[in-house]
């Protein structure tokens, strides 16, 4: 299939395809980080994760309208404000949901799955009632929609770079919170031994709530970023849920590094296969490979061996 092209062209295409894989990787990391915090550290299965992302997207939509109406001169910068607002909105909803629902279910992880699925249905209907059934068009600042010509053959989309920078930034932020802050220490202590953490004076209830809130907030930021590449509608969140869970589970639930490694391997596999196969078959093969590996190595890529 490559005989018609010059080496130069092929090189450029492979470079761009590698870049496409990196963008997909960043997308996966953004999707999965919030879930990795919630699922990995708290053991809660948040099926409404996609809806928290979409909340971030709707907040971005509202912010863009606000800027277009009242601050058109600085419209190009609204996106940064929108991401912060998205974090606050999704995080606040997360705190509320934890307080009302999740905290009663820590001993029943499978039940959190059902309850949060119910929550996702409710959120979808709320979005539909508030914003309408149609997708909303989020206007992206012009500087983000375009590409940087690297050579005369290779062009790199700016929003791709933006997503990559964002993914790196948030990963670092989460890393520092988890491994360099006292909150992170508390979270990890709780995930290993809740009773003991309680006994040594960690406010487990508040730490849990904060963890859930931060996980949801990160989802909100991801949703905000995805307005650049995807659609914003009441049911758009559902599209992400299977991929997201597989990334987290495949990485080994308790490991942040595992989540990133798994996002990397799944995205590269999918991106390479998409180039050679039809998109649908690439997707099926990727999922099957992931599930197959999980059957052989159910604990995921990275795990701590614990003494039971």
């Amino acid at each position: 299939m490559f005989s018609d092209y010059t080496m130069n062209e092929l090189g450029a295409i492979f470079a761009m395809q590698g870049f496409a894989g990196l963008i997909l990787f960043s997308v996966f990391v953004l999707m999965a980080l919030g879930l990795a915090i919630i699922f990995g550290q708290m053991g809660v299965i948040n099926m409404a994760h996609g809806e928290f992302m979409i909340l971030g997207a709707y907040v971005t939509y509202l912010t863009s309208n606000l800027f277009a109406d009242y601050l058109p001169s600085v419209f190009g910068l609204y996106f940064f404000v929108a991401m912060i607002l998205a974090f606050i909105a999704s995080g606040a909803l997360g705190l509320f949901v934890e307080w009302v629902m999740i905290r009663h279910l820590y001993k029943r992880p499978l039940d959190t799955l059902l309850a949060t699925w119910g929550l996702s249905l409710i959120l979808q209907q709320v979005y539909r009632s508030v914003f309408g059934a149609r997708e909303v068009g989020v206007s992206i600042p012009d500087w983000m929609m375009g590409s940087l010509p690297m050579t005369d053959m290779i062009e790199v989309p700016i929003n791709g770079i933006f997503v990559m920078v964002l993914a790196t930034g948030i990963s670092l932020a989460v890393y520092f919170m988890m491994y360099r802050s006292s909150w992170g220490l508390q979270v990890r202590a709780i995930s290993q031994n809740r009773m003991m953490a309680d006994a040594v004076g960690i406010n487990t209830a508040w730490t849990d709530r904060l963890t859930f809130g931060i996980g949801c907030g990160v989802a909100g930021v991801a949703g905000s970023a995805f307005t650049m590449i995807g659609s914003t509608g009441p049911t758009a969140g559902q599209l992400y849920i299977v991929d997201t869970f597989l990334v987290v589970v495949f990485g080994g639930a308790a490991s942040l590094l595992g989540t990133i490694a798994s996002a990397f391997s799944i995205s590269q596999a999918q991106s390479i296969m998409e180039f050679f196969l039809s998109g649908s078959m690439a997707k099926v093969l990727t999922l099957l490979t992931v599930v197959g590996i999980l059957m052989i190595r159910p604990q995921g890529l990275f795990t701590l061996k614990l003494r039971k």
Binding site: A115, G118, I122, L287, M295
Partner: protein
């Protein structure tokens, strides 16, 4: 207790079964017109899945979010047979290749794929309806349970299977009918399944099969295996160190649940007249779990009422308030998990039964009324 629990049916079980049989075979057919009865027949096909989930999830602690896969495989096997029967050369004379299913013709297939051939035989089809999903469940079960994958991981991986199968069915539309599914099914061995009488007969066949499955489930529940499932759910290690191979029991119950779901799927195809990938995916699979949860995850009879109630509510709510339906369903999920973890059966056992007992002093007179409360009135 020792002696009573050794029998297949306690007096209480007997009354429960009798009430359900009366509802399915007497009350509903009398109270409902043909259209509504067919609808309830459709709801009852979900009850097969819910009963299987009681065994797997309620008793065994194995939550599968991929029961739609087995429901779908059973349904597709049945649909393939019916489609072949409907695709006679006369019916399909307009096609470039008459005699093959229409969707194959649209996709330039000029001959029936080899793996469709066995579905020309009703006998092989009926075997395949059960066997294909069970073999599939067995492979998943061996792979997962031998490696001690359980709990949330199992749930997520089964969910991934539902996603994979859906994409595969849609992508291979020349062989599967794609997103449209396999539609326009007409006759079963020359018997028109679309007629009113056929639908009524199918309803009763469906009800009969459901009772058979319930009796099997009751037998499993009352056998030592049933107690082992509960034991495994709560103290898996202890069971292992009492000398049981835990994985083989999990595989067995998962396969049994898959077989129930498959029967439901096949009956769905017969009663509704088509099968489509929307019944295989993640959303229907999770909805099936909620049928079970609403009915009571520990009660096989409750699961049947759960499937009936939720679907009936879905139909009637979405007839009058389509916008509210999702809110209602979402609220139901949360309420069942947080307030009524044992579902209808739990509410009945905790609140209704004792009061009725106190009122009437006798369980015999009490049960029919109370069960009627659980049943959606039409």
């Amino acid at each position: 207790m020792e002696s009573s629990s050794n029998r297949l049916f306690s007096a209480r079980d007997l009354i429960g079964f009798a009430v359900l049989i009366a509802i399915i075979f007497v009350v509903l057919p009398i109270a409902l017109d043909g259209f509504r009865l067919n609808l309830f027949g459709k709801y009852l096909t979900y009850a097969f899945v819910a009963v299987g989930l009681v065994l797997c999830w309620g008793m065994g602690g194995i939550l599968s979010l991929g029961q739609g896969v087995f429901f779908g495989l059973g349904g597709y096997c049945m649909a393939m047979f019916l489609k072949l029967e409907a695709s006679t050369p006369e019916n399909t004379s307009i096609q470039s290749t008459p005699g093959i299913p229409d969707f194959m013709d649209w996709n330039q297939l000029t001959a029936l794929p080899a793996w469709w051939e066995p579905f020309n035989s009703l006998f092989i089809t009926l075997i395949a309806v059960i066997l294909v999903p069970v073999v599939f469940a067995f492979i998943i079960g061996v792979a997962m349970f031998r490696r001690r994958v359980g709990g949330v991981y199992f749930a997520i991986i089964t969910q991934a299977f539902a996603a994979i199968l859906t994409i595969l069915i849609i992508g291979q539309q020349g062989f599967t009918g794609g997103v449209n599914g396999i539609t326009d099914l007409r006759t079963l061995k020359g018997w028109d399944i679309r007629s009113e009488e056929a639908k009524e007969i199918l309803y009763f066949v469906n009800g009969g099969l459901l009772i058979v499955c319930l009796v099997i489930a009751q037998y499993v529940r009352k056998s030592k295996l049933g107690r082992l499932l509960i034991a495994m759910r709560d103290q898996e290690d202890r069971v292992r160190f009492s000398g049981y191979d835990v994985a083989s029991f999990k595989i067995f119950i998962f396969c049994l649940g898959a077989a129930f779901a498959a029967v439901g799927g096949a009956m769905f195809t017969l009663q509704v007249g088509f099968m489509s990938p929307t019944l295989v995916g993640i959303v229907p699979s999770i909805e099936m779990v909620i049928f079970c949860a609403v009915g009571g995850r520990l009660s096989i009879l409750g699961a049947v009422y759960g499937a009936l109630l939720v679907n009936w509510a879905k139909t009637s709510l979405s007839e009058s308030f389509p916008e509210l339906w999702l809110l209602g369903l979402g609220g139901l999920f949360i309420a069942v998990v947080m307030v009524f973890p044992n579902g209808l059966a739990g509410v009945y056992a905790e609140h209704v039964e004792p009061r009725l007992m106190a009122l009437l002093g006798k369980s015999k007179a009490a049960a029919p009324d109370s069960a009627a409360n659980e049943t959606p009135a039409e």
